[in-house]
């Protein structure tokens, strides 16, 4: 398999930071209970920061001494977060307000530091960029999906558009509801991936058996 395709599929599905690695739980729970728009906004913000930090860290991987790599990564990530914060405050003030404190907390988001340490510091700039985009997209899609579920069940609306006026299950606008949706989403996602892996293994075994039979004949 092409290495870029593998990196992309890993970030999006097989190593999805939200559903498979359960990283970045704090902003996930905070944003999905708010609205689908906030959840998607948080996802896209992390995508931009993650991609840029992966690129910079990968480019500097031979320059930064190993002993001070973590402080350097944190300074780079914090700088990017501050920069994105300034951009949002200037151009997207509504999103800036809805993300609140969780915007600044991206500095300590495990996904960003995790990918910097586990991937960007060991791979080329191109690979690191693809990894950043894939993981960022994986995070964004996961948050948006759960945000849609929570917003629809919690206030009967989708992306702020009221769909069902009298339908409202208040718990889904609360942290408890967000926990519930997150848990169920992890279970469903893991089940689907497991089923897919199982069918892939069955197919591979079947193919191997047929090849063996052919060779024997």
């Amino acid at each position: 398999m092409n290495k870029y395709k593998k990196i992309t599929l890993d970030g999006l599905i097989f190593q999805n930071p939200t559903f498979m690695l359960v990283l970045g739980t704090c902003p996930t729970l905070a944003m999905i209970k708010q609205s689908a728009t906030s959840a998607m906004g948080m996802g896209l913000t992390v995508l931009v920061i993650l991609t840029l930090s992966n690129i910079i860290i990968s480019a500097l991987r031979r320059v930064i001494p190993n002993s001070v790599r973590i402080p350097c990564y944190i300074v780079i990530i914090a700088t990017l977060v501050t920069f994105v914060q300034m951009l949002l405050k200037k151009f997207l003030p509504d999103l800036y307000e809805s993300l609140g404190a969780f915007l600044a907390l991206i500095v300590v988001n495990c996904i960003v530091l995790g990918r910097a340490e586990a991937f960007a510091s060991k791979h080329t700039v191109g690979e690191a960029a693809v990894d950043g985009i894939a993981n960022g997209l994986g995070f964004t899609v996961a948050l948006t999906l759960m945000g849609i579920i929570c917003e629809f069940l919690g206030s009967g609306s989708l992306f702020g558009l009221q769909i069902m006026k009298s339908f409202k299950i208040a718990i889904f606008s609360q942290p408890a509801g967000a926990f519930l949706v997150y848990g169920i989403a992890i279970a469903v996602f893991t089940y689907v991936i497991d089923a897919f892996e199982r069918s892939r293994r069955v197919k591979a075994n079947k193919l191997a058996r047929e090849n063996l039979l052919k060779e024997a004949v």
Binding site: V68, V75, F83, M86
Partner: protein
């Protein structure tokens, strides 16, 4: 380790790398900040478009800054910061900082409807929160809560929605913030009345000190008794969760308190604490006894010249456990003793003033 060895060592390399990253980041952010900084003007435009334009149902309005220099902007419970005239609608937009929030003051925008001559207030069009310090539970204050200001407006109204002991109390779970909003709106009305030259309310307590926690709009008065002493009836403002107190203080020669009586207790049962209203009242009763025979110096020695609230359970109170109630009673004491001479002068020259 020699200097040469140090400069060749890994430690030096690490230090330089870290410093370089910090330096580049700092310079980058400084440059970015100069381009991306949100100016006060932008902030105003943004808030105006978001909070005010909606009030006019899409009609185009242009705010024109009013010249308020030379006006008295520091009011007893609020400070007027800016005023704009919205000519198209004969409205004034007032930006006022209301005192009494949980973590500080709240900045509030009040749109005041005026008559065509811009001389008299005809109502409140809208109230919105412009800025607030961290920790304020303003999220609990709904649009419906803020709409009450417009709905309930009448001539001479003094809003008290945040005061739990007032009949107009509104449950928001953000009493402090709502009290500050009320203060800002009341101040805005008071200021516009004076500024527009319409109904100028005479202030019987003009020049009096320590008014911040005294409700000079309601019940507070002073008069002479048969012994020639000044009898102050002081209704304090609430200091949430404590409600307002009404006290009677007899001040004699040299501004010394002769008698201190509580007419209305403002203490309330505190959430989750094993203290009833009565227990708080007992503490207050014990404490006010110590005020008899004291003058202003006693209060300012305890709480400073500005009589600022020293915080819950401060050792500056004679009795602890009802800090906020104690503070209100001390404040009333300071008000009476500090203004004794002024009140006496007024009483002997023009028969005294009341504001009931």
């Amino acid at each position: 380790m020699t200097a040469k060895q140090f400069f060749k060592s890994n430690v030096f390399k690490c230090l330089i790398s870290l410093l370089c990253v910090l330096l580049v980041s700092g310079v980058f952010l400084a440059i970015a900040n100069s381009f991306l900084e949100v100016t006060e003007e932008e902030m105003f435009k943004r808030q105006f478009n978001k909070q005010v334009s909606a009030v006019y149902d899409g009609r185009t309005v242009t705010p024109e800054a009013a010249d308020i220099s030379g006006q008295s902007t520091a009011l007893s419970s609020s400070t007027i910061q800016k005023v704009w005239l919205i000519k198209e609608e004969n409205d004034y937009l007032v930006q006022a900082e209301g005192k009494g929030g949980y973590n500080g003051n709240l900045t509030v925008w009040t749109i005041i409807k005026m008559d065509t001559s811009l001389k008299a207030i005809t109502g409140i069009r809208a109230v919105s929160i412009y800025a607030y310090p961290d920790g304020e539970l303003v999220g609990n204050i709904s649009a419906a809560n803020l709409n009450l200001f417009a709905q309930d407006y009448k001539d001479g109204i003094v809003y008290n929605y945040g005061d739990k002991t007032d009949p107009s109390y509104v449950q928001t779970n953000a009493s402090y913030s709502f009290t500050a909003i009320c203060n800002a709106v009341n101040g805005s009305i008071e200021f516009i009345n004076a500024f527009a030259g319409g109904i100028v309310k005479e202030d019987p307590f003009e020049g009096f000190l320590y008014r911040e926690f005294v409700n000079t709009d309601k019940d507070t008065k002073y008069e002479l008794n048969a012994d020639g002493d000044v009898v102050f009836t002081v209704r304090t403002k609430p200091n949430a969760p404590a409600g307002y107190f009404t006290v009677e203080i007899v001040v004699g020669t040299d501004g010394i308190i002769k008698k201190y009586t509580v007419k209305r207790y403002g203490s309330e049962d505190s959430h989750g604490e094993d203290k009833t209203e009565d227990k708080y009242n007992e503490i207050v009763d014990k404490m006010i006894l110590t005020y008899v025979g004291k003058n202003l110096k006693y209060f300012t020695d305890k709480l400073g010249e500005d009589m600022a609230y020293p915080g819950d359970n401060s050792d500056k109170f004679e009795e602890t456990g009802a800090s906020r109630s104690n503070y209100l009673c001390m404040y009333a004491g300071a008000f009476a003793t500090a203004n004794y001479q002024k009140a006496l002068d007024k009483l002997t020259t023009d028969g005294g003033e009341t504001n009931e």
